[in-house]
Symmetry: C2
Subunit: 221 residues, 2 copies
C-alpha cells in the first residue's frame, strides 16, 4: 500500500546540497505493522514525511495505494493527508493557542462531521490516551508525555487506515509505552496499516517487520 | 547541594488549582549522579524546573548550596542559572532564528568571555556531541535527535558544576544514548553534580541513585 522506488531526497541550504536519502526501496503492504530504526540523523523522519505526503522526494517514485503521488493534485494530496493517513509528529506540532480538546478535534473540523459526532470521537480518543482530565489545558500546560499522547490522539481521531508515527513513545514511561503499543496492536488487528519510527527495541519487538536506515539507506532485517 | 523541604507546587488555571507536587523532600549531594523516574504527568519536569530556578514552589523550601532560594534577588537567581546550572529542556527550547552554533554560544555571550574563547568552547561542545557538521543549520533543518543533542551541548558549554537534564536521550538511538551517558559519567568523575529525569532503565542504571515520583510524591529507591 506504500511503495517507494529508488527514492532520493536532498536538502538545499544556500549553495550546498545535502543528500539524506539514497535509493530507498520500501514496501509496506496493507495491514502490515512495521518499524523503522536507525541512528539519529540517518533519514527516518525525512522518509516518513515523504510517505505522509508532507514532503516530496528529489528523485524516484512513491506510490500510495498504487497511485504515483507526484501525479496527484494539491487538493487530492490534502484529501489523502486528511482522510487516509494519521501522522504522529516527532515534535508533536500541537497548536499552542488551542486547548488539547480543540487540537484533537481539528482534523474533524475539515470533514463533514456534525458537532455531536466530533465531540464523541474526540472524547473516545482522549479517554483512550488518558487525557480526558487535561482536555481544557493548552499544550504549555501539560507534561511532555501528555503532549506526545495528544499528538497520538489527534492522529487517530479520524480512524485513518494508515498510521505513520514518528517516535511516538520517546517521552513516555514504560507503563504508558506499553499502553500505546496495546492500542496500536488493537488497531492493526482491525486491519489498519501501521509504520512506526522508533529507537526502542521494545517497541520494534511488538511489530511484525523491522527496517533499518543507516546514512540514508534502507536495509531489511 | 540541592535540598528541598516539604516542597509543594500547584498550578492555577482559571479558578482551579491543580496540585502537582506534594511534600517533596529531595537531597542531592555534591558530586552525586542521580536519576528521577516516574509515570508521564507525575511531576518530574515541574520539580526539575524548581531545582533549576526556572519556577518557584507554592510552599516549602528549596536550598541551593545551603542558600534558601526564595531569599535571593532576581539578579542573583539569573546569575546562578547562567553560571552554576546547565539545564537540558525536555522540549529543547532552541531559538528558531539562530543556527546551532549560535544557539550553543548563547550562554557564553552573557558572560565576559572573549570571542576567540567562546568559539573554542562552542567547537569543543559541538564536536563532543557529533554536531560540528550541522553547526550552520537552524533547528528546523536538523533531526529530532540532533536538536536534543544541541540542547545538551548548550547546557554543557559553560562547564557548569550542576547539570539538570530533562529526558536527555528520549529522541536518541541506543548508540548515541550510550555516548551521552559516557559523557555524563566523565563529567561526574570530574566532580560535577548530575540529576537526570529519565524513563529509560538503561539510563537510570548508569546513575548511582534513583528517585521515583508517583502522583507528585517523591520516593527513594
Ligand atoms: N502550566 C501548567 N498548568 C497546569 N497544569 C500543568 C502545567 N504544567 C504541567 N501541568 C500538569 O502538571 C502535571 C505534572 O507535569 P510535569 O510536566 O511535571 O510531568 P512529568 O512527570 O514531567 O511528565 P512527562 O514524563 O510526561 O514529561 C501534569 O499532570 C501536567 O498536566
Ligand atoms: N530542512 C533541512 N535542511 C537540511 N538538512 C536537513 C533538514 N532536515 C533534516 N536535515 C538533515 O537530514 C538528516 C536526516 O534528518 P532526519 O530528521 O530524517 O533524521 P532522523 O533519522 O529522523 O533522526 P532522529 O532519530 O535524530 O530524529 C540529518 O542529518 C539532518 O541534519
Ligand atoms: Mg527523526
Ligand atoms: Mg516531563
Amino acid at each position: 500500500v506504500l511503495e517507494t522506488k529508488d527514492l532520493c531526497k536532498s536538502y538545499y541550504l544556500g549553495n550546498d546540497a545535502i543528500q539524506v536519502l539514497f535509493d530507498v526501496n520500501l514496501c509496506v503492504r496493507k495491514g502490515d505493522f512495521s518499524a523503522i530504526m536507525g541512528p539519529s540523523g540517518s533519514g527516518k523522519s525525512t522518509l516518513l514525511n515523504i510517505l505522509g505526503c508532507l514532503d516530496t522526494p528529489t528523485s524516484g517514485e512513491y506510490l500510495l495505494n498504487g497511485l504515483p503521488v507526484k501525479t496527484l493534485s494539491q487538493s487530492r494530496l490534502a484529501d489523502i493527508r486528511n482522510r487516509e493517513i494519521g501522522f504522529v509528529f516527532q515534535n508533536f506540532n500541537l497548536l499552542p493557542k488551542l486547548d488539547v480538546f480543540s487540537n484533537v478535534e481539528l482534523p474533524l473540523i475539515y470533514g463533514n462531521v456534525s458537532k455531536k459526532e466530533r465531540h464523541a470521537l474526540v472524547e473516545e480518543s482522549l479517554k483512550s490516551l488518558g487525557l480526558w482530565e487535561r482536555r481544557h489545558h493548552r499544550p504549555n500546560e501539560i507534561s511532555g508525555g501528555q503532549k506526545q499522547r495528544a499528538a497520538i490522539a489527534r492522529a487517530l481521531v479520524k480512524k485513518p487506515c494508515i498510521i505513520l508515527a514518528d517516535e511516538p513513545t520517546g517521552n513516555l514511561d514504560s507503563v504508558t509505552t506499553h499502553e500505546i503499543l496495546e492500542l496500536f496492536k488493537e488497531l492493526n488487528a482491525r486491519g489498519n496499516t501501521i509504520l512506526v519510527i522508533t529507537h526502542e527495541s521494545e517497541v520494534a519487538g511488538t511489530t511484525n517487520k523491522v527496517f533499518h536506515i543507516r546514512d540514508g539507506r534502507l536495509y531489511h532485517d
